[in-house]
Structures are given as C-alpha cells and as structure tokens.
C-alpha cells in the first residue's frame, strides 16, 4: 500500500462519515413516509451557513476556547436547522398527506428552490468561509513519505460516530424511538394503537435535519468554504449513500456513506478529480440497476 492510497483512505473516511450523517435524513424520512425528501440537501446547505453565522456571532461575543466555541456553534446550528426540518414538513408534506403521489415530491423541489434562492438573496451569491479552528496534525511515517491526519479530521470522525451512536440510542432505547419504529413498520396500525403519527413524522424530519446540521458544521470545519449551491451535489451523494446502504436502514446509511466517501476519494486520488461527481452519480445508477435494495436493505414489496 502506498502513501496516496492511505491518505485518500483517511480523507474518504472523514468525507464518508459526513455523507452518512446526511444520508440518515433521507433514509429515515423514506422509511417512515416512503418518499424522498428533496429539500434535504438544502437543509444541509442552510446548516453550513448557520454554522458560519453561529461561529461569527460567538467569536464576536468573545468566546475563544475551541471546545466552547464548537459546542455553542453545534447547539445553535442543530436547534435552528431542526426547526427548519419541522417547518419544511409542516409546509411541504403535511398538507399533502392524502394527495397524489407526485405532489409532495414537487412541493419538496419547490422548497429546495425557495431555500437556495432565499439564501442567495439574503447572503449574496459569493462563496463564504470560516477560519480554521483546529490547527495541526498527526504525522505517521510510511516508507519514504508520511501520512498526515489533521486534528480536524480526527474530530470529524469522532463527532460523526458520536452522533450516530446517540441516534442509535434514541431509536432503540427511548419512547420516541419506539414510536418511530412502530410508525415505520405500519403507520395505520401505529395510529390505531394511539401513536400520534403526525408528530412522529415531524420528529423524524427534525432528527434528519439535526443530523444534517451536525454534518454541516463538520464539513464547514473541514473545507472552510461553501456557497448557496452546495446542497445540491452533496444531497445527491448522500442519497446515493442511503441507497447503497439500503434505504430505510440506519446502519446502512452510515455504511453506504463510508463506502461512497472512500470510493470517491480513491477515484479522485488515482484517476481524475474533475470527474469525481460523475463517478458518484454513475455509481448511483449502477447500484439501482444491480442491487436496488442496497447492501443492508430488504427487497421492497409493493402494497396495495
């Protein structure tokens, strides 16, 4: 194994962990209402802006230390983005519960256009950025060269897996999680048993948005720049990750994210950077042709 491969493996893992976090939003919403949330990529984009705004505000008020700064930014971003998730569900999905199958998809596209344009109008079309928060890196000598793992990347991996672990705990151990799982299995039955499924669906949108917010903070820390168009490509990639892992499956979303991130990083390291997006999208088409149920998903059965 040579240095480039290992270096790209590390890059791919960090990128993939973040894809996985966004993929959770797709997979949970799909699991519960059987629909793709097209506005989810834009939710991530909003959270990137919110994290930069939170960071700027907190630094302005004199917060200096890294842990406090990052904790405050995370709290702010996750809360506000979660509210975005709630509002999106309230406007674009809830009134359309009994409508035609196409209607929520189109209204979600509408929301995604609104969010893009609204951020562009209010924040300007130029690229935005945040300063580097964590300097320095671990260096491991390999053969002649060395492997560089920046502290930021370590932090991203740790935070992403902590977020995943927290979500798994919520889904498997809490009352809300139990209600989510029940609604996912059979919405009508859950309703009969006294679960307010409308509130569960809202909660799922909020959880998905919160995970996307975590991803937004982490990606912004890693790359430092973003613009109002950033949600589009990352949205499709995270969806690819969700499909790769098996849509509807939480561990699948994370696994799919990691695999996609590593594959993409290796492709851009070994073949060509210009076509890395093309590579990911082609991967999506190929998965859908050969294994539409994904790695951990079960084959779908159409219900009348």
């Amino acid at each position: 194994m040579d240095g480039i491969f290992l270096q790209q493996l590390i890059n791919g893992l960090t990128l993939g962990a973040v894809y996985g976090l966004i993929a959770i939003g797709y997979t949970m919403v799909y699991g519960i209402i059987g629909m793709i949330n097209f506005a989810h990529g834009e939710v991530y984009m909003i959270s990137a802006y919110l994290s930069a705004i939170g960071l700027a505000l907190l630094s302005f008020f004199g917060l200096e230390s890294f842990p406090l700064l990052i904790f405050g930014t995370l709290l702010f971003t996750v809360c506000v983005t979660g509210l975005y998730g709630w509002v999106i569900e309230r406007i674009a999905y809830k009134p359309l519960r009994n409508s035609t199958r196409l209607a929520p998809l189109i209204s979600a596209i509408g929301i995604s256009l609104i969010l893009q344009n609204y951020v562009q109008i209010s924040q300007g079309a130029r690229q935005q950025g945040v300063p580097t928060l964590l300097d320095g890196a671990f260096r491991v000598a390999i053969g002649e060269g060395f492997l560089q793992i920046s502290y930021t990347k370590v932090f991203i991996l740790v935070a992403a897996f902590a977020g995943m672990a927290a979500l798994t705990w919520v889904i498997h151990r809490t009352r809300l999680g139990r209600m989510c799982r029940a609604t996912q299995q059979d919405r009508k039955m859950a309703q009969i048993l006294g679960i307010d499924t409308d509130r569960v669906i809202s909660a799922v949108f909020v959880i998905g948005a919160a995970m996307a917010a975590l991803a937004g903070v982490l990606i912004t820390m890693n790359y430092g720049t973003f613009d109002f168009y950033a949600g589009f490509v990352i949205g499709i990639k995270a969806f690819t990750a969700a499909v790769l892992g098996g849509i509807g499956s939480l561990p699948g979303a994370m696994l799919g994210g990691l695999i996609l991130g590593v594959a993409e990083a290796q492709f851009s390291g070994l073949v060509n950077t210009d076509y890395k997006d093309v590579f990911s999208f082609s991967l999506l088409v190929l998965i859908l042709i050969f294994r539409p149920q994904g790695l951990l998903g079960r084959p779908q059965v159409a219900k009348v």
Binding site: L102, I114, P131, D277, V278, P292
Partner: protein, 425 residues
C-alpha cells in the same frame, strides 16, 4: 352553532404570535446576519419585515379559516383534487373558435413583430415544446423527471457537435437529435423504470448533472465552459446571412428581396411553429389511443395495471422516450436560435423551470401547458426587475400549486367513448 360563527380573536392572535416566533428563529440568523468574510453585518430591518409579514399573514389566514367561507375552503383542500373530468362522447368545446384565431395570429405575427418580440416568442415556443414533452412524462405517465434538461442539452449539443465533427446541418440534425435523445432516454430509463417511482426522480437529477459536468469538463471535445458555435440554419441549402459562404447564394438574393436580419428568426419561428403544432397533434391523438390511456392508468394505479397485464416498463419507457425526443427537438431549435451553446444553459434551474410550467399548466393538460410556458418565459422578460426573485417565485408557485390545486389551474377533461352500435360492451 352560534358560538362557532363568532371569530375567536384570541386564538388567531396566539397562532400569529407562534408563527412569528418560528419565523424569527428560522429567518433571523440567515436574513439578519449577513456574512462578510469572517465578520458579519446586522440587518435587523429585513428580519422585522419578514416576521411582520408572516404574523400578519397568519393572523388573516387564521381569521379567514374561522369564517364559513374559510371552512368550505378547508374542506376543498382536504378532499384531494378530483381526477380527470369526463365529457360526453360527442362533446364539442364552446371555445373552438379560438383555435383558428390563434393560428391566424401566429401566421401574421412574424410580419408585424420587431426582432426583439420575435426572439421572445421563439423562446416561448421552445418552452412550449419542452413543456409539452415533459407533460407527457410527468403529467400523463406520472414519472418525475428532474433531469429533463439533459435531453435538451443532447439536442443542442447534437447540432453543435454534429456540425463541428460531421459537417451536419440543421435539417439533418433535427430528426437525429430526436432519435439520439430518445435513445439516451431509453438507456437511462430502462433500468430505472423497473423500480419504485421516486428513484427515477433522483436518477434523472443525477443524469442531468452528469451531462452538464461532462460538457463542462471535456474541453477538447465540447469546448468546456466557453461553449461551441452553432451554424445558422439553411433552407434547401440557401443561407439567411447577408453574404453566403463559399460561393453559395443567400436566400434574399435568390428571391430578389431586400436583406432583412430578421429572416433567420422568421425561418426558425416558422419551423418551430410547425413542430409545435405537429407535437400538439401527436399528443392529442396519443392521449386517445390505447398507449395514452395506459400512461394515465399507470399514473393512477400501477399495481392494478400490472395485475391487468400491462407491461409497465414498456409503457413508461415509451412515455419517457417520447418526452426525451421532444426535448431533443427543442434543443436543436434553441441552439440555432442562440447561435452558440454552452453548459450554463443546461443547469438544474432549467429543469425546474420546465417542471414549473407543467405544474402550473396542469398535469396532462395541453392548453394549460401552452399558456403556462408563455406566462413563465415571457413574463420574466417583461419584468426584468424581478429577475433576482424568479427562482423564489417558481419555488413558491410549485409549493402553493401542490397544496391548492395539485392537478393544475385548468381542469383536465377527456372525451368519453360511446360504445359502437352492434358491439357488445
């Protein structure tokens, strides 16, 4: 109930306060704190405006929904829009006289219009073509195609690349582009159409982006972001320029008329109009044929159709390919109208615009789509100052239409069939 008829102001005020609070948290940071490098500027007035508007809107809505009219409105929302309206078998519309009038206006138009007006109308007609094509896919067959612009790009670049590398002109590319786009549609659609409908939306979204990225990055073949020149169209080998290339005869010399720079656009307009009429005709016929009925039946209930023995993949694929080939045609017209092509004309925004046309016009409605195409493409030309807010308005339009009238502004109606005499029903 007399108690219910009085307005509950307190309730409405609480609603409005709640909405205002949410608007403050949601819009506050992004609208109020504008990033500027690593610093920021505060813009509290903008936030106040938005929150005020939301609160007022919510208050009025709350009060309105408490009135009797409001409650009937609510009930209309909750009952999902009725399906297709069926007319009596021998029904003839009372608005039939409009059609010859519109045709006459379309014939006279190029002789009266200025060049600017002509180009605007050509653009409108191109979007009519695109809207009609996407309407087959989304409106009739119920397949959400978010990468429709890719087929449009295939048509436009088909002309540019065909001229550059194969020496093909407008007329030979026109049918080729339709075929090529249909072929691309088949290649993309065949694997994906077997699966749950939503996957198609995201795969086409990815496909549209792949095409744009390839056009942008493949510098040696497509010229990258700089684009490529497109030849001017010719009629029977005669050119529309002031002077023809390499000893050819420009058309105005042959006909013995004065040179008119509008001539090229008049020609494009004429061919485009004929194509639109042809597509309109084909589409109306198709909706009455078994295949058209099968599209709509599949849209309404796929499982029932499959149980009745319809091959759902082939039926969907035919709609998808037909839509794609229409976009291919539109692409050729767009390329020759513009005189050059570059990837920035084929972004996701274009797909969204075409989708907005179909949504506003009504899924499956022909007249609606033609009107919507003109409204959505010509209106922005006239209202230049709203250009920044165009996408925002399209997004709001899509959301509101889906909530209010998911089947479009104009009710779709199909003529019913009477059983033929002597044939058992």
């Amino acid at each position: 109930m007399p108690a219910a008829s009085t307005l509950n102001l307190r309730h409405a005020l609480l609603d409005s306060l709640f909405a205002g609070l949410i608007a403050l948290v949601v819009f506050g940071p992004i609208v109020g704190v504008v990033l500027d490098g690593y610093r920021f500027n505060l813009q509290p007035q903008r936030v106040a405006w938005i929150v005020g508007t939301v609160m007022l809107g919510r208050l009025l809505l709350s009060l309105f929904l408490q009135t009797a009219t409001g409650r009937t409105w609510m009930q209309r929302f909750e009952g999902s829009g009725a399906g297709v309206h069926v007319l009596a078998p021998g029904h003839r519309s009372r608005l039939r006289w409009v059609i010859p009038l519109v045709l006459l206006a379309a014939l006279v138009f190029p002789f009266l219009a200025s060049k600017y007006l002509l180009t605007v109308v050509i653009l409108g007609l191109i979007y009519v073509l695109l809207g009609l094509g996407l309407n087959i896919v989304v409106g009739l067959a119920g397949l959400l195609d978010l990468g429709y612009v890719a087929f449009y790009a295939i048509g436009a670049y088909g002309l540019a690349l065909g001229y550059e590398y194969l020496g093909l002109g407008f007329w030979s590319v026109l049918p080729l582009a339709a075929l090529l786009a249909a072929l691309a549609g088949a290649l993309l659609g065949f694997p994906v159409l077997r699966m749950h409908g939503d996957y198609l939306a995201i795969v086409t979204l990815g496909f549209g982006e792949i095409i744009r990225l390839v056009l942008n990055n493949w510098l040696s073949f497509t010229g990258g972001p700089n684009g490529m020149p497109v030849p001017a169209p010719t009629l029977l080998g005669l050119e529309f320029g002031r002077r023809a290339k390499e000893g050819g005869v420009p058309i105005h010399e042959l006909l013995g008329i004065a040179y008119d720079p509008n001539l090229k656009f008049v020609f494009i307009y004429a061919v485009l109009l004929l194509t639109v009429l042809l597509v309109l005709h084909v589409k109306t016929r198709l909706t009455r044929m078994p295949i058209g009925r099968a599209w709509e039946a599949l849209r309404e209930d796929e499982i029932a159709c499959r149980a009745l023995g319809l091959n759902h993949v082939l039926v969907k694929l035919s709609a998808f390919m037909l839509g794609a080939s229409t976009a291919g045609l539109a692409g050729v017209f767009f390329a020759s109208y513009q005189g050059f092509v570059n990837p920035s004309s084929f972004t996701f925004f274009e797909s969204a615009l075409i989708l907005a046309i179909v949504v506003l016009g009504g899924m499956g409605s022909t007249v609606g789509v033609v009107l919507a195409a003109f409204v959505l493409t010509v209106a922005p030309e006239l209202l230049r100052s709203f250009a920044d807010y165009r996408v925002l308005l399209f997004g709001m339009l899509m959301v509101l239409m889906m909530i209010w009238r998911p089947r479009g502004l104009i009710r779709i109606s199909r003529r019913g069939f009477a059983p033929r005499p002597g044939v058992a029903p």
